[in-house]
Assembly symmetry: none
Homo-oligomer: 202 residues x 4
């Protein structure tokens, strides 16, 4: 009982240290020695909980995975059934942003590592797939219900995914849009929904 708690605490220490170190010097250059030093544990202790740095990264990603997945699946249904599609989308996006902000360090990590090493891409594939799938499903339903134009759902998913990542990256990592991120999200939706071209000859 006591042991259990203590073990959990030590594990947390490592994860917390990792978050900070990854943020400071990046995942690729982080050594076990860095984690051990930051967490103020002994070198050997690390190996009682993780095999290597990658496992620590995965553990961190795991944490956010659950939250992101829940937020997406719960809201997806509501969003689609919403009489006003745009408002539904907006809510989905904002709920997602709230999760991102809660785990900002790890999400930042996710965004910067997901496209780097082949070995890591595997670990972040779930995020890619989850996002892709969510967007595709929404688009397909929108097309079926006649509310959306008949564009290639996959292509559209790529665009939204990429745009979202770019904006979130600047938001979380560069400290852009500190407060008015919600406004920007609505602008994003407006652009994707109605485009930027003025309807001249109307």
């Amino acid at each position: 009982m006591r042991q259990e708690k203590r073990k959990e605490l030590t594990r947390k220490k490592i994860l917390e240290a990792a978050k900070q170190v990854f943020l400071q010097k990046g995942y690729a250059t982080t050594r076990i020695a860095d984690l051990v030093k930051k967490s103020r544990l002994a070198r050997g202790t690390f190996y009682l909980y993780f095999q290597d740095v990658e496992q620590v990264l995965n553990a961190l990603l795991q944490e956010v995975f659950i939250d992101i997945q829940r937020s997406v699946t719960e809201l997806q249904v509501e969003a689609l059934d919403h009489e006003n599609f745009k408002i539904g989308l907006s809510e989905l996006a904002k709920s997602l942003l709230a999760v991102f902000q809660k785990h900002s360090a790890v999400v930042g990590l996710l965004l910067t590592t997901m496209n780097s090493e082949p070995s890591i891409r595997v670990q972040t594939a779930w995020f890619q797939e989850l996002t892709q799938a969510t967007i595709r499903v929404m688009l397909e339903r929108g097309i079926q219900s006649g509310r959306l134009k008949n564009h290639d759902p996959e292509l559209m998913a790529f665009l939204v995914m990429g745009g979202l990542r770019e904006v979130v990256t600047h938001w979380l990592i560069d400290g852009r849009y500190s407060k008015d991120i919600a406004v920007k999200v609505d602008e994003m939706i407006a652009i994707y929904m109605n485009g930027v071209e003025r309807e001249t000859q109307k």
Copy 2:
């Protein structure tokens, strides 16, 4: 001089080897040993040309930088003056894609490394900035001339940049859209220009 040629050849050997190795095992895990093995040179020879692996990456990026910059600046003017804005955009995009395809390995590298480690982000900042600037200029002129809606140019630049990167990544790295990339580009432009929402109650 014969020597001069030989030097140039050796340098090329290293760069060529690096392209292949980076592609295969990713930049972050590439060792000098990998490069000298692939290029079939002696360990010491590497140091006559580069200090470390990062310098090799930079040399590769440098090559494409010139081509990309030229392609963008040359066509930008034409695109903007084109009577049909969309066709101009399409041509700009396709010309850019041609450059990307010519340097596909390095551009793939650029796309995967640009958002990773802090140290590398510095090296790829030019690409970010060039793309951002190009898109912003075009948008701002479009807004001024009344052809485009008054959206935040920076936000729009992020969206296009992100979407483009996502699509190009799947194209170059995953082998998606092998042939019909041109079609997809036009679809991308259509989406950004006119949005995906159907104008129902018109």
Copy 3:
């Protein structure tokens, strides 16, 4: 703690190995590999205690520094107050020789390295200065008390220092004067005190 003792032991092992290796092949050509081989430790272990070979040399010199300084300062006072100046000097010299003999390997090292590379001269400057200062102080007091002629104390210090080093070098390194070093020291003192010229026309 057990650990503490073990650490101290390992450090000692390295220092002991260094003493032997320096003696055998000289400081300048000693490699870390030599030290780990002689001390029968792993390559990496060396770096837990020292950064490079120079640090090992400094650690060794540090040890003797303390002993030499103590022996010199303690006896200096007595020597000067001695009614018979020469006997006082003799005792000071012999006490110094005892310290030299105790640390013969390191003192030999000190004598051979002190005038070599610029980088090392810095490390042995304390010895130069200590010796210089000691001799100067003694001379100046001797001059003031009227017991010594009014020669340039610095010059005199150089002569004694040089002579002492030469003799000690031959004693410690070449194995000269194995037993009668004490006799020779008294002869040195006699020479410095009364000169070698016969007082002919007295």
Copy 4:
């Protein structure tokens, strides 16, 4: 004929470069690359004249050896036969100093390297021996002729040798006694001849 001169010139270039480099960064850390760079010759050219850095050192020492030996042997005879022994000594010393000054860079090198590495000690042994022998011979003759006290000639040679080296080192390397070196030499002789102790009870 032409070739001969050219060869000699190239050799000189290397030796001159070596003098400067040795002076700047010390003998032990001087690399062939340093000599090649300073002499503005090609790497391969070096090997047409010398095998390694030690050979260059030896060549430099060789030059001074001849001058020193001549100066010593020529003057030795005169000095000993001089009716005033002290004046003879003084002239010998000053003539030696003139040679030292002429070759100051190399003599400085000689003084700093002669007691370092075992391998180099061999190369500078001639200097040790020459000086020792000269001093011993002079002392022995002085003793025989009744002008000098009956001290151990070898010991005395060590003292003079050491003192001389110390003073010359400070003169050549540290820039001490820039002008009044001659005065100091006479003071040295006075000390060795008559000692520093005042003849109180006379």
